[in-house]
């Protein structure tokens, strides 16, 4: 309770209440632009947070995350193109509603459902995370290594149907994390005699290259004449949601939020999957499933409550175990580290007040999101009018300035551009980038604890299977890989039939 009150006092500063709406506005803009994701928004804004207090910085990034997840629904509803992958399920009924002249109603329901889902998820984070953190305080090096292996097993879920590609990606990430001076022996590793590489490759630099630059390169085949879709703002009427529609949507929103929280708290999943599961469940349990896909407001409510419902919950494994559940949380984890907070069991003990401020702040973020959405929804529709040619130049300028500002050296600009080209090749070869990111984030955790555990056990690997928590994590990691392989095999058999 003391930490809760301390956190509240850290949060109650006017700067935090100023930065949250700014972050949300940015997040909604980024989310609403197809091709720019909330992940990218967070990456681009990390350099802007260097001079901020940790609470303020993280709240801004969380606001971008939540705002981006909601913002993606705007283009999903208006132009049948989801702003982010988390909003893909919103297309099914959001766009048909817009075609029926109910765009404003669909946007309002997306906002309402996103807010309810986000709020419930923020409460889940606030009450569940500290309880899990108490257990994780018992962890030693063996458990940490098992945890890192468990975190890496997340790649099974995000490998785009090819486990080999996911594993290669993770190996690339781990390799990148080893470049620079070894912290235990002081030996230089793969620096090729270059002094700039001695301190290793910064996480933010890798992130900008992997996600932002590769995204710009992926769009190099964009054709302004055929690929630019924009909204006619006059099509957004002012029809409001009726009381009866609110009543009908209560169950889908409750179910969607619950699914969002459960899926979000499971590493390797994310808001997109939660939205699809929630949409399916709502459709199956509906008395009128035939109306889904034809512009059913319950469909919008189900998917949007689930994807925002996952936002807070994805932070549970990240904050308590130091295991990022998806791309956005891996990036947020990097942001925590940049601001001197290492996610994991010790964070609650050492910086509990800041953490509580952030967790309570997430509730405030969702309240502000509703207010901003109510006022500016129509205005955000104009975002789709910005030509991609201009956007790509602006994003690239921010990437270059942001990467230079990390260490004040040109070398980082070279690295983001080279990483971007490599990541572009990986994406063209159907690789997912999240495994690479997981490798970079979890590599050092795995290596340090592996070496410490081996020192403690005099070189015996049995330490990892004789300690129950370590064994449990390793078993879950093996189990999730086996489950992936089985599901993949089943899909292939089904495809052959």
């Amino acid at each position: 309770m003391d930490l809760f009150l301390e956190g509240l006092s850290v949060l109650l500063q006017w700067q935090n209440f100023l930065i949250i709406p700014i972050g949300l506005a940015l997040g909604i803009v980024v989310g609403a632009i197809p091709g720019l994701t909330s992940d990218l928004g967070i990456i681009l804004c990390i350099p802007l947070t260097y001079g901020m207090e940790p609470t303020m910085a993280i709240l801004m990034l969380l606001a971008i995350y939540c705002g981006g997840t909601y913002g993606g629904s705007i283009t999903a509803i208006l132009i049948n193109t989801p702003g982010t992958s988390a909003n893909a399920a919103t297309l099914f009924d959001g766009y048909p509603m817009a075609r029926k002249g109910q765009a404003y109603k669909a946007l309002s329901m997306a906002l309402f459902a996103s807010t309810v889902g986000g709020l419930l998820s923020a409460f889940a984070l606030l009450f569940l995370a500290p309880q899990i953190a108490k257990i994780t305080l018992l962890f030693g090096p063996a458990e940490y290594l098992a945890l890192a292996v468990f975190g890496l097993s997340v790649i099974a879920g995000v490998s785009n149907k090819s486990i080999f590609k996911g594993l290669i990606g993770a190996c690339i990430g781990i390799f990148v994390s080893t470049v620079g001076m070894d912290t235990i022996s002081g030996s230089s590793r793969f620096t090729f005699g270059n002094i700039n590489l001695m301190s290793g490759i910064d996480l933010i630099i890798a992130l900008i290259g992997l996600f932002a630059i590769s995204e710009i390169m992926m769009k190099s085949q964009y054709n302004p004449k055929t690929d630019h879709k924009q909204v006619s703002v006059s099509s957004i009427t002012k029809d409001k949601i009726t009381r009866e529609e609110y009543r009908r949507c209560r169950k889908p929103i409750a179910l969607g939020s619950l699914i969002g929280i459960i899926i979000g708290a499971t590493p390797g999943t994310g808001g997109g999957l939660a939205a699809f599961i929630s949409y399916n469940q709502t459709k199956q349990s509906s008395k009128h499933p035939e109306t889904f896909g034809e512009g059913e407001i319950e469909g919008v409510a189900a998917s949007e409550s689930a994807n925002n419902g996952a936002c807070g919950a994805t932070m549970i494994p990240m904050l308590t175990l130091g295991v990022p559940g998806d791309g956005a949380t891996a990036i947020l984890m990097g942001a925590f580290m940049i601001h001197g907070m290492v996610p994991g069991p010790m964070l609650f003990k050492e910086q509990g007040n800041i953490l509580y401020a952030i967790m309570i702040g997430l509730i405030v973020v969702n309240v502000f999101m509703y207010l901003i959405g109510r006022v500016f929804t129509r205005l955000y529709a104009h975002i789709t009018r910005i030509p991609y040619e201009i956007l790509s130049c602006i994003v690239l300028t921010f990437c270059i300035a942001g990467s230079y500002s990390t260490n004040n050296r040109l070398y980082d600009i070279y690295i983001i551009l080279i990483f971007g080209i490599i990541a572009y090749f990986l994406r063209r070869m159907d690789f997912q980038l999240v495994p690479v990111l997981l490798g970079i984030v979890l590599g050092p955790l795995a290596e340090d604890n592996f070496r410490r555990a081996m020192l403690l056990s005099d070189g015996s690997l049995s330490i990892f299977v004789t300690r129950p928590i370590s064994l449990l994590f390793l078993a879950v990691a093996v189990g999730s890989l086996a489950l992936f392989a089985w599901r993949n095999h089943k899909d292939k058999v089904k495809a052959r039939m």
């Binding site: 090819s162 590609k165 190996c171 022996s185 190099s220 602006i394 230079y404 080209i421 490798g439 592996f450």
Partner: protein, 154 residues
Amino acid sequence: MKIKYNAEIIAGAVFVIAATVLWLLIPSQIQTLEKTAINAQTFPRIAIGGMLIFSAGLLIQGIFFNEKKELVITKESFHSDGFKREMRSVIFAVMLLAYCVLVTFLGFIISTAILVVAILLFYGARKWYYYVIPLAMVGIVYYVFGVVLRISLP
């Protein structure tokens, strides 16, 4: 010339070669005085060894199990839409690499302005304000980072 390929064969082959080269570089790139079995070389060996094994697996999967596309290379192939699309990505990558050289000598403002104009020309932008907005943004970013964030860009 006729080629049969898929993404698995290309990626598998590229990473088998890359991992082999990195593996051979380990003794010269990681010189450690540690005498223990687990040392500074261990984890890079695990990562690179893993990359080698999994990319070999990917290559085998691509050659024997996955469907392949057939590509017939003739003179006309170099004029096809597919080839032109691929070349656009290559040109974009070359522009980024050229920027690395330019920024070293000309600094942030001039080199980024050149890059912005090059990208807009690349996309075929014709309206004047398409050029003014991003160029103004380069100036704003330079000002915000230099004055507000006190980070002087090169």
